[in-house]
């Protein structure tokens, strides 16, 4: 039997009962469309998280005091509680080859009062100028903390956009005075908004020179964390290793039980990516169930068809159809249903992803992978759920089939 004849016979059979074929196909359409939409939403969420993490500064290693307990993750690391990072660590870390910049931070929450009378409770971070480059922050107005400010322990502050808005509203905060922990600071700059990233809002912060923070505000020489930017992404593992050894020597602790931890962006990204992958799988498996139900619908319809067309099958066998011709015809009918249904489903899925993108502001993206997956899955469903009815058809005894009423 020629391929063209096979297609022609199967198409004819499907168009005879258009409503039934259409409704059966609808099951597959809904299944495929929801799988595509769910995967695209999941991947969109993943992309968003990735880009916001990378927005915190790429090629970044973060040294934190204390040890991250295995299983407790980065959230409950108790950062700031342990006071093991010292200013001397900065120079030691700068000596490691491959390190582009070292940005120590000392942070603490303070009540901040503006000359306008508005006040807010925000995180105040003592920084060196390297922070601007390492953390990829950009000034909206004015300038960032400079070396001169650190040398002279200047009482100057750079406001995050959220703080600036809270304290000064639409007024220009430059050269205004804010009181942090009852000390007057002159506002020298306002940063551009970055948006929230994970558990930390970089916009709701105030930056002061590190020396000012340590000597005047905190009264202690400890650091909350040290961020390292690495020259090249490929060097990250080696630099992380070197930094670990250097700091352990500096602190006089063993390599196995250090009093600090070093976390790379990749670690943080990995943890969050894992969450979104599970989330995507969860959504896709719910959608997969509807696909399964669609497949059972196909099988149901094909079994009905085989019964209805018993005499036709008997006739086809009498005039020379081989068993494999009968199987091929009925299998092709179910595969055509699922493939056409799958194509329509892909189209609807792409449209739905677009709606989610525009309407809900999630960067839902339909990947080629999910389209290929949907195509493969729908064809497989057609073959799997179509085979049994086709086999039943081929197995019919032509004499009995011809007499079937």
């Amino acid at each position: 039997m020629r391929t063209f004849d096979l297609f022609s016979e199967s198409c004819r059979a499907l168009t005879i009962n258009k409503i039934r074929s259409g409704l059966t196909m609808l099951g597959i359409v809904i299944g495929i469309a929801s799988v595509i939409t769910m995967i695209s939403i999941g991947q969109g969420a993943q992309t968003m998280i990735q880009s916001s993490i990378e927005g915190l500064g790429s090629n970044l290693l973060t040294v934190m005091p204390g040890v991250i307990q295995p299983g407790r993750g980065i959230v409950s690391s108790g950062r700031g509680a342990a006071q093991t990072l010292k200013n001397s660590d900065i120079e030691a870390l700068k000596g490691i080859p491959g390190v582009a910049a070292v940005s120590p931070e000392s942070s603490r929450r303070f009540q901040i009062v503006a000359s306008t009378g508005q006040n807010t409770n925000s995180t105040v971070i003592g920084v060196l100028p390297a922070y601007e480059h390492v953390r990829s922050v950009f000034s909206e107005q004015g300038s960032f903390v400079a070396d001169a400010h650190n040398r002279s322990m200047s009482r100057v502050a750079v406001l995050g956009p959220t703080v600036a808005q809270d304290l000064f509203g639409d007024a220009n905060p430059i050269d205004k005075t804010v009181r942090i922990n009852k000390v007057n600071f002159k506002v020298i700059g306002v940063l551009k908004a970055k948006g929230t990233a994970g558990f930390f809002n970089p916009d709701d912060t105030v930056f002061v020179p590190l020396s000012t923070m340590q000597k005047i505000l905190a009264g202690a020489d400890f650091l909350s964390l040290i961020a390292l930017s690495v020259e090249d992404k490929d060097q990250m593992p080696r630099v992380q290793e070197d930094a670990h050894i250097t700091l352990a020597q500096e602190h006089g602790t063993s390599l196995e039980s250090p009093d600090f931890s070093i976390v790379s962006q990749a670690d943080i990204l990995g943890a969050l990516t894992q969450i979104t992958v599970v989330f995507t799988l969860f959504l896709a498996s719910i959608a997969g169930i509807s696909l399964l139900v669609g497949g059972i619908g196909i099988m149901n319809m094909m079994l009905t068809t085989v019964t209805e067309r018993t005499r036709e099958i008997g006739l086809r066998k009498a005039i020379g159809a081989r068993n494999r011709d009968i199987i091929a015809q009925f299998l092709l009918e179910s595969v055509l249903l699922t493939v056409i249904g799958g194509l329509i489903g892909v189209a609807i899925g792409i449209a739905a992803a677009l709606v989610v993108r525009v309407g809900f502001n999630i960067a839902a993206e339909v990947s080629l992978f999910s389209i290929l997956l949907a195509g493969g899955v729908s064809t497989t469903i057609g073959v799997l759920f179509g085979f049994y009815p086709a086999w039943r058809a081929a197995r019919l005894n032509p004499i009995e089939a011809l007499r079937y009423e």
Binding site: M1, E312, G314, L315, K317, G320, R322, N323, L402
Partner: protein, 241 residues
């Protein structure tokens, strides 16, 4: 050439064996028009199924065109059915929503022979079966019984088979229409290209054939030449189908 040698067909196991055909032996030469006649339950349908390769005998040998078909695989039998045998059924068995032409061309899609001019062959077969050209694009469920049986005859003829097997072809037709179908068999016989085997329980229908094999309780009881073949043309002058 159809050669049946001691064909026996039984159904069932050990104690409940039902013998449908017993030691049936006969030879039907190329170009013969034979009626196999017998009451219901006589085994004539089983005999037809065996001749048509839809069923196989329990014992005995069936030689079609000099080749024993006993050892053939299912696929081989399907190919032989397609190339050598044309079936005409009592219930017509047309695809109801397909056009007349499509119905007639159906056996050709299962054939291995060159089918470059399928449409042409279908048209030739339809003319031979005597169905007017104005009906060819109709769907088969829009036709009358006689027209449907003519489509079925055309479908049987389209592969140009050696043997035409007709199982009660007039059973669902009124006498006048049935006569027209029988007349077309006689016309085909007169051309001499096909062996025609007609299965019937009616003496009247059997008398249109040139040879009548009577079968009763699974045995051939009579095998005679029918010297004065009934001519239908004279008694049913104007039936339009």
């Amino acid at each position: 050439m159809i050669e049946l040698r001691s064909i026996t067909k039984t159904y069932g196991e050990s104690k409940n064996v039902v013998t449908v055909l017993q030691e049936v032996t006969c030879t039907i030469a190329d170009g013969e028009f034979v009626a196999i006649m017998g009451p219901s339950g006589s085994g004539k349908s089983t005999l037809m199924h065996i001749i048509g390769l839809l069923d196989s005998p329990t014992c005995g040998e069936y030689i079609l065109d000099g080749v024993s078909v006993a050892s053939r695989s299912g696929d081989d039998l399907a190919r032989i059915r397609n190339e050598k045998i044309g079936f005409i059924f009592q219930a017509f068995n047309l695809l109801p929503r397909a056009t007349v032409l499509r119905n007639v061309m159906l056996p050709l899609i299962y054939g291995t022979r060159d089918s470059g001019s399928r449409l042409e062959r279908a048209q030739v077969a339809l003319r031979a079966a005597g169905l007017g050209e104005e009906r060819w694009q109709n769907r088969s469920n829009q036709l009358s019984g006689g027209q449907m049986q003519r489509v079925a005859v055309a479908r049987a003829l389209v592969t140009d088979p050696a043997v035409l097997l007709a199982d009660e072809p007039t059973g669902n037709l009124d006498t006048a229409t049935g006569d027209v179908v029988l007349e077309s068999f006689q016309a085909l016989h007169d051309q001499g290209n096909h062996t025609i085997v007609l299965i019937t329980h009616e003496q009247y229908v059997a008398e249109h054939a040139a040879r009548i094999i009577s079968i009763r309780d699974g045995r051939i009881v009579e095998d005679k030449k029918n010297g004065h073949r009934r001519a239908v043309r004279s008694i049913t002058p104007a039936v339009s189908v």
